[in-house]
């Protein structure tokens, strides 16, 4: 592997990079809103695709154009699950795909599968905005880290259990280099030293499906789970508790903060559809009216510039709401599943 820099010991680069912070997943960082954001989607348009089939649809990465259209770029590839950008250069980005980490350093002109056969099917990838050489990869059998921009990858799993380390979601705390939360099969794990060691901060009996950090308060985190409902932490992910009023009967898949309104949160699950809260999680309202009867809820997101709410339905494309779920219109990606919505600050390029 390449030379490992103990980057977590380096003074936080936040001051230099805060304006350029990359927001991966729903909920963009408000500080960059002034300059606006580019929106990226990882989407699969799957007409019963099976491995090896002729691709008759266009899948992979999409970006929103100035006209508000969704333009495909990069490989036509049905299973790109997540994307994360280097804040120093937005032409450098990493994707979590069924092949492993597939990355580009020229904005998608050329690509490299940077992992080998021993790392497969990552579901999430996250660049450390304060130490952007460091990239974290959520694997079905643990967690891998690259300290050289994807040049080499190593497993860093000290503190994770031998079994139960299936990792679905991985997010770097934007306030401090090397501080990372991982949503795993057996719970939520925290590292504060760049994955040199992990500790369990919340147990789970099934998979933690997504983690999100509030764009307003960096100590506030939300997590969706399969069995434990929706969890909240107000101390940077050290302690968690279940949010009342949200069932534990079925899996929750996705959660988002509205970067334009501190108290607006949104959560979704396959069987529930979409629920919003406008009082910071104290009460929740089902917002399925105007959506197809078949919910199949997969991902939610809020545009950091407009506060527009986006909601993906499995293989039905995604819908948008300009009144936070009170009414909906079809937005795009006909027949598609959006695995991730990502926003990056335009001013940070």
């Amino acid at each position: 592997m390449g030379k490992v820099r103990p980057f977590w010991a380096i003074p936080t680069l936040a001051a230099a990079f805060v304006a350029a912070l990359v927001s991966t997943g729903p909920g963009a960082y408000a500080a960059s809103a002034a300059t606006g954001h580019d929106m990226y989607l990882c989407a699969g348009v799957n007409r019963d695709y099976i491995v090896g089939a002729k691709l008759v649809t266009l899948s992979g990465l999409y970006r929103r154009t100035a006209k508000g259209e969704y333009e495909h770029f990069g490989p036509n590839y049905p299973q790109i699950f997540a994307i994360s950008f280097d804040p120093r250069n937005h032409k450098v980005f990493y994707t979590a795909t069924i092949n492993g980490c597939v990355q580009t350093s020229d904005g998608g002109e050329s690509w490299r599968i940077s992992t080998s056969w021993d790392m497969t099917e990552p579901k999430d990838v996250c660049v450390d905005g304060n130490a952007p050489d460091n990239v974290y990869l959520a694997l079905p059998d643990g967690i891998a880290v690259s300290n050289d921009r994807g040049g080499t990858w190593v497993r860093r799993e000290k503190g994770l259990p031998a079994r139960g380390k299936y990792t679905q979601s991985i997010k770097v705390d934007r306030t401090r280099a090397g501080r990372v939360l991982a949503g795993c099969e057996s719970g939520i794990y925290l590292t504060e030293n760049g994955a040199e060691s992990w500790r369990k901060v919340q147990a789970a009996t099934a998979t933690v499906t997504q983690l999100q950090q509030s764009p307003h308060d960096p100590k506030l985190w939300l997590a969706t789970t399969q069995n434990e409902g929706v969890l909240i932490s107000r101390d940077g992910g050290r302690n968690w508790k279940r949010i009342g009023g949200l069932s534990t009967e079925h899996a929750w898949y996705s959660v988002a903060f509205d970067p334009t309104h501190e108290s607006r949160w949104v959560v979704c699950g396959w069987k529930y559809g979409i629920l919003t809260s406008e009082d910071a999680g104290r009460t929740w309202t089902v917002r399925n009216q105007g959506l197809p009867d078949y919910h199949g809820a997969f991902r939610v997101s809020v545009d950091p510039d407009s506060g527009r709410l986006y909601f993906n339905i499995w293989r039905r494309g995604f819908y948008a709401s300009d009144d936070f779920g009170r009414s909906w219109h079809f937005e795009g990606i006909e027949g598609g599943t959006v695995y991730n919505f990502t926003y990056i600050s335009k001013g940070a390029k």
Partner: protein, 652 residues
């Protein structure tokens, strides 16, 4: 009444649709285009092959080559020069082998490479064309083929067969085009990096298969997805170590296949099969390999599709005589016990790979096979059956078994890196239509435990309330005769020259329709037992052992049997073979008071195949013939053993 010929023509037409029997990977993935009407396949529509052993090696080779040529000529004959669609990648392979229509092949390759496929099912045909056309395709065609490996990000897939195809293909292409920069490969890695990664995985997979056991063991279709890449490796790898590894894996797979087939029909437990092959046991790509290698059963329609790629290179392989004789010798009863392993478990399990303990009892008239239950593959596993021999297996559903038809998101999450809710819905749209159906006959369950001793099977079920689904299904073929529900509780039937006794341990009803199938009423019957604590006992015997069917029934009625379903299903049964079987769900079973200790199970143990767990070394024996495959030394050693007194076939 339809004549045999018209029936076979109908079968031909029916099976011409790839969806009826080909793997989910589907032929279209590799650009295989079938003519609108299949047929005129000499061995598929012709008489059943003779089961007589061909003693002389030169005659065996001649017969093998004749079969290969049959495939090549058939496929070549389907090409219409005026219809480019008929010249697919498989046909191009054949034409290249035959040295025909080379100009057309070059033009067609250029056309096809404008829009390359993605994933292993595209990659290995492309590799075959690249190697077979190395000196025959035009420079422009070869360049277009090479360029295709640059422009489309190939998907690796998520199963072992995908990876075997993917990495063999990438390995061979990287060897064919060495010293080329990462910018010229879809992977972004140089030829050498690709080679290193591919070799690393292939050796890792071979290590797993030869120490812990094969993951996708005895697959009815996916056998092709291992055999074809391994043949390519054995034929084209420059590195002699990889070449011999490919060769040894083919021997390994074929030895296992030979010992597991009843006159060419793969039966018994399968890591993966499908809705058709699980009942019409012959109708599978596995039968193509039996036909090709042993010549003892007809090939499936279109030679299984993928078989064409194997045939294109098959002259580079010769089946060892010892394996041939294992496949052909069904005069002696034998039990073979093997260790296999589950698919990789990502979560909800204490182990990466669960061991699978497989029992295979073979007789002249029938075979009984099983593994101990539980989930080895979440969708397409088949745990146990009794399969009887028939003179012509085409169109015959010659098998009997029961199962718990579970559908479970959690089970699938164990093996797939996916969220729970879409999986049950998704798989039914992706080539596994029965998965979420109560009347399916395919799949394994975590709530099933199986004990097999020779030709007796006891399957016990303890299904928690709320499980999807809360019943068990028993399969009763349209081809059974003399089906009799006896007041004793036994159900008697005859299949071929085999007598069958099926004892449901809980009340049942009958169903005759299959919601997931295109043909809703296939003439088969489904025993439906809607009880959570449940069980099945099946005892098979050869008709030759009894004066008549009534005699068999009387013998079965007389067998001591006691069972309780509450609180936990438990059975004590003295089998037709005089062995006392005690089996309680969730506990180690015993046979004649001796506990079955699976921890002592070897990788292979039986009269024909023997290997220690972790050894990477398989000893294949038949009579005086022995072949040792040793992956530690990458050696194949053939010996002629001293003849034992009275040893006719070495199997007992």
């Amino acid at each position: 009444m339809k004549t045999m010929e018209s029936r076979k023509l109908m079968m031909t037409a029916r099976r011409a649709s790839p969806a009826t029997f080909l793997s989910a990977a589907a032929l279209g993935l590799a650009g295989i285009v079938f003519p609108s009407v299949a047929g005129a396949q000499p061995s598929y529509t012709g008489p059943v092959p003779s089961r007589a052993v061909i003693e002389r090696a030169d005659y065996r080779r001649e017969a093998y080559v004749k079969r290969i040529d049959e495939v090549l000529n058939w496929r070549s004959g389907r090409v219409d020069r005026n219809n480019p669609a008929t010249l697919d990648m498989a046909a191009i392979c054949v034409k290249l082998v035959q040295g025909e229509d080379l100009d057309l092949c070059s033009a067609r390759v250029i056309e096809l490479m404008k829009d390359p496929g993605t994933g292993p099912f595209w990659m290995f045909p492309a590799v075959a064309v690249a190697y077979l056309g190395k000196d025959k395709l035009s420079p422009e065609a070869r360049a277009s083929l090479r360029a295709a490996w640059s422009k489309v990000l190939q998907m690796r897939g998520d199963t072992e067969n995908h990876w075997a195809m993917y990495y063999t293909s990438l390995y061979l292409m990287s060897e064919l085009y060495p010293n080329e920069a990462g910018t010229t490969w879809y992977s972004g890695k140089s030829s050498e990096e690709n080679l290193t990664e591919s070799k690393g995985y292939l050796i890792h997979w071979m290590d797993l298969a030869t120490t812990l056991g094969q993951g996708e063991f005895n697959p009815t279709h996916y056998i092709g997805e291992y055999m074809i890449p391994m043949l390519f490796l054995a034929t084209w790898a420059k590195d002699p170590k990889m070449r011999i590894r490919g060769h040894m894996m083919i021997d390994w797979l074929m030895a296992d296949h030979a010992a597991s087939t009843l006159n060419g029909v793969l039966r018994g437990a399968n890591a993966r099969t499908d809705d058709t092959s699980v009942t019409e046991r012959w109708n599978a790509l596995a039968s193509f390999f039996s036909w090709m290698m042993f010549g003892n059963t007809p090939p499936p329609a279109n030679y299984g599709g993928w078989g064409i790629y194997f045939a294109a290179v098959a002259k580079n392989y010769t089946l060892p005589e010892v394996i041939y004789r294992i496949a052909m010798d069904r005069d002696h009863d034998y039990t073979q016990r093997d260790l296999k392993r589950s698919r990789r478990r990502w979560r909800y399990s204490d182990v990466d790979y669960a061991p699978v303990y497989k029992t295979n009892y073979m007789r002249h008239d029938y075979a009984v096979g099983s593994y101990e239950g539980g989930i080895t593959d979440p969708i397409q596993a088949h745990v146990w059956d009794v399969t009887w021999d028939v003179p012509d297996p085409r169109g015959v559903n010659n098998t009997m078994f029961s199962l718990h038809p579970i559908s479970s998101a959690q089970d699938m999450q164990m093996y797939f890196a996916e969220v729970p809710d879409w999986m049950q819905l998704g798989v039914t749209r992706e080539g596994k239509p029965s998965y979420d159906s109560a009347d399916k006959m395919l799949g394994s369950s975590r709530f099933e435990r199986v004990l097999q001793d020779k030709d007796t099977v006891i399957a016990l079920y303890d299904i928690p309330p709320g499980t999807r689904f809360e019943h068990i299904n028993g399969y009763f073929s349209k081809d059974l005769k003399n089906l009799t529900e006896d007041p004793s509780g036994w159900i008697f039937a005859q299949g071929g020259n085999t007598y069958l006794a099926y004892r449901p341990l809980a009340p049942y009803t009958w169903g005759t329709t299959w919601s997931w199938a295109k043909d809703k009423d296939k003439g088969d019957r489904r025993l439906i037992s809607p009880h959570l604590k449940n069980g099945t006992i099946v005892q098979a015997a050869s008709a030759n052992e009894f004066k008549n069917f009534a005699d068999f029934q009387a013998a079965i009625r007389a067998l001591p049997l006691s069972f309780n379903l509450e609180p936990t299903p438990t059975v004590t049964f003295k089998s037709l073979r005089g062995n006392l079987l005690r089996f309680t769900y969730g506990e180690s079973p015993s046979i004649n008071g001796k506990r079955v200790d699976y921890s002592k199970w070897k990788l292979f143990e039986g009269p024909y195949l023997n290997a220690e767990k972790g050894s990477r070394r398989l000893v294949i024996t038949h009579g005086e013939l022995e072949r040792i495959l040793d992956f530690n030394t990458l050696s194949i050693v053939d010996r002629v053993l001293p003849e034992k007194a009275g040893d006719a076939g070495s199997s007992r």
